[in-house]
């Protein structure tokens, strides 16, 4: 006996028999408690909680079988081995003993060796059972803990992810409830210009490791989109962040798109995802859009390639994005839904049905059996911008506070012109003026046009006429990037002047560039006459501000924008 002694209950109405058993058990080093009938046995069980019970079958008052039943019921999940003491020889009597909860038998005359062997065997079993029970309790506790953590993580995630605009009328989406912990991410937000950014991501792995990367990703996506950053900048930033925080081997397969209402274009960056579908109404065909990049979080910043593909995206056109859960959905025969089945859905005539049909077909394919809720699907349609309305900017901080009287000059030179997008920084400053926040879409477009005019036509001297044909368009961008490489002594200078007026404010922006200027004599200050002159997006700029004036040799332009402050009641 090198183990902790057990407590053993001996229940036998025959005193001399009990004495012998007690002597044997005590000799083994165990503790003993005694009972002379079934009732006493139950009472002793409750009081002493013995580890093993030796129970005579035939006893006065309450017999052994009845007592065994009661004790097993009291024990519940605890293990209490019961050894029946009996010389019953009928098989049916033995069966009754087993049914009542007996674990073993022993007959008279008692044999010391046999009893020791039985007690030792049950002692080992008890130890095993207790270990299992403890492990089960630990697992149960860990599981509860984990579920709680997941709930918290989920709540945090929802807060981050739901500030988006997936509910816009031109977006249909399906995001399965467990998708977060499958590593699926689906984000949508509007830029100050009114464009829509959408990001579908699929992190490696499952559970918390997959969900955790979604947090910084969503923060960067929403933060930078709201400030007007370009897709390339946002992707670069997310890639850098993920590369830095995720262990090697963890990454995020991603598709990000920018829908521009003004240019009627869809710009797509895809890394590591299966083909997506672009439906064009004019031809009634679906084009497969392929991944041309590595997933986010794999390459270093230097090696990262943010190059996008640009597609015409006219009203009625639709773009479809999905997680691999759709393609990899399995039916009862373990067959995959597959890309062929998915793309054949687009052979249908009615493009309004595609979204629902994809969901229905996948559900039907999988059937009742193996629905595993691992599906993310999104349909993005091109509509007129008026359908979805203006960008909703929070004005709750009050309209009359904030900087209302200031000026600033911001000059970009050579290298900076080559690689840096100054718009977010400038818009950030302008957005500090509460009244301008309401105009931020307008301001973004205005600033973007002014900057590209100054850089491309002014500094680089490119002719906008090239952009009239598709070949010319790419030629234009080739020339643009060549010219950028050899910049010297170049600058673009922004001057902002903001002053309060009697009923609101007025912003004057002057943009000067180091270029040759141009002959603006045929541009009348009367905006109506300039519609035909589409070279420099001037009609667009006109439509966004109160006045536009070219100065000096045409390398300087001044625009004014004024507004009335709406006081809250």
């Amino acid at each position: 006996m090198d183990e902790k002694p057990l407590n053993i209950l001996i229940a036998d109405d025959n005193q001399s028999d009990r004495m012998i058993l007690c002597a044997i058990v005590r000799k083994m080093g165990h503790l003993v408690c005694e009972a002379a009938d079934g009732n006493e046995a139950i009472e002793q069980y409750i009081q002493q909680k013995p580890d093993i019970i030796l129970l005579d079958v035939i006893m006065p008052n309450l017999n052994g079988q009845q007592a065994a039943k009661a004790i097993k019921a009291l024990a519940g999940e605890d293990m209490v081995p019961i050894i029946f003491l009996t010389s019953l020889q009928e098989a049916s009597d033995l069966a009754t003993c087993l049914e009542s909860g007996g674990d073993d038998f022993m007959s008279k005359p008692y044999n010391k060796i046999i009893l020791q062997a039985k007690i030792n065997a049950f002692s080992r079993m008890l130890k095993m059972h207790n270990t299992l029970q403890k492990q089960r309790d630990v697992i149960r506790e860990n599981n509860d803990h984990m579920r709680h953590e997941q709930q918290v993580a989920r709540a945090v995630y929802d807060n981050v992810a739901h500030s988006g605009c997936l509910d816009l009328p031109n977006i249909k989406h399906l995001l399965s409830p467990f998708s977060i912990f499958n590593g699926d991410v689906l984000l949508a937000a509007r830029k100050p210009s009114g464009s829509i950014h959408i990001l579908l991501g699929d992190f490696t792995g499952h559970g918390l490791p997959a969900a955790i990367g979604a947090m910084p990703l969503a923060e960067i996506f929403y933060g930078m989109t709201a400030k007007g950053f370009l897709m390339a900048d946002i992707l670069r930033e997310i890639n850098l962040k993920l590369k830095r925080i995720l262990p090697v081997g963890y990454f995020c397969c991603t598709c990000m798109v920018n829908l521009s209402f003004r240019r009627k274009e869809l710009e797509v960056w895809m890394g590591g995802l299966p083909d997506f579908g672009l439906y064009q109404q004019s031809t009634g065909t679906i084009e497969r859009v392929k991944s041309s990049h590595l997933p986010l979080g794999v390459l270093s910043s230097q090696a990262f390639d943010a190059e996008t593909k640009v597609f015409d995206f006219l009203p009625g056109d639709k773009f479809y994005m999905w997680s691999d859960g759709i393609i990899e959905a399995r039916n009862a025969d373990s067959e995959l839904f597959g890309e062929d089945r998915l793309f054949s859905i687009f052979e249908h005539k009615d493009s309004d049905q595609y979204f629902d049909k994809i969901i229905n077909d996948v559900n039907e394919f999988v059937g009742e059996s193996g629905r595993d809720d691992d599906t993310t699907l999104l349909e993005l349609s091109m509509v007129e911008e008026s359908v979805i309305g203006k960008v909703d900017i929070d004005l709750s901080s009050g309209a009359i506070t904030g900087p209302t009287n200031w000026s600033m000059t911001y000059t970009l030179r050579d290298n900076t012109l080559r690689s840096f997008n100054p718009l977010p920084v400038m818009l950030n400053i302008l957005n500090d003026v509460p009244a301008l926040r309401n105009l931020s879409g307008q301001l973004y477009t205005l600033m973007a046009e002014l900057f590209s005019n100054a850089l491309e036509h002014g500094v680089l001297g490119l002719s906008s006429e090239l952009k009239n044909s598709a070949e010319g368009f790419s030629e234009y961008y080739r020339l643009r990037s060549d010219a950028l490489k050899v910049l010297s002594d170049a600058f673009v200078k922004f001057e902002f002047d903001l002053r309060p007026t009697a009923d609101g404010g007025k912003l004057t922006i002057t943009v000067e560039d180091s270029g040759e200027g141009f002959d603006y004599s045929h541009i009348s200050p009367d905006s109506d006459k300039n519609i035909a002159y589409c070279g420099r997006g001037i009609p667009l700029i006109y439509s966004l501000c109160d006045s536009l004036t070219y100065l000096e040799k045409g390398n300087k332009v001044k625009v004014c924008l004024s507004w009335q402050t709406q006081f809250e009641e």
Partner: protein
């Protein structure tokens, strides 16, 4: 020939040590009481009671190494269970003879 299994008795003495005398005393007293109960049950023709008491005596006698005595009690128990007590008075006489001899031997062992 002994009426006790002597090899078993030696084992029992090893187990019980100084408790052996107590055990013998308890067995003899308990058996005396149960004898009376058994006789009463036989007279009352209570088959169930006959079987129960004989079962108990069969077990305790086996434990005290009185194999022949235990076998006689088994006969009575079986008869009780079969509800056929005709042979029981005869067996009971033999039990009394055997018990006297067992008792004598046990007392010698003390």
């Amino acid at each position: 020939m002994s009426h006790l299994n002597m090899a078993q008795i030696q084992e029992l003495k090893d187990v019980m040590e100084e408790g052996f005398n107590d055990l013998v005393l308890t067995y003899l007293q308990d058996s005396d009481n149960k004898f009376k109960a058994l006789k009463k049950a036989i007279n009352a023709n209570d088959c169930h009671q006959v079987a129960e008491v004989a079962h108990s005596l069969k077990g305790s006698s086996a434990n005290i190494c009185a194999e022949a005595l235990s076998a006689l009690f088994k006969k009575v128990e079986d008869a009780g269970r079969a509800q056929e007590l005709d042979s029981v008075p005869y067996t009971f006489e033999k039990i009394q003879e055997e018990f006297t001899l067992v008792k004598a031997e046990l007392q010698q062992l003390k």
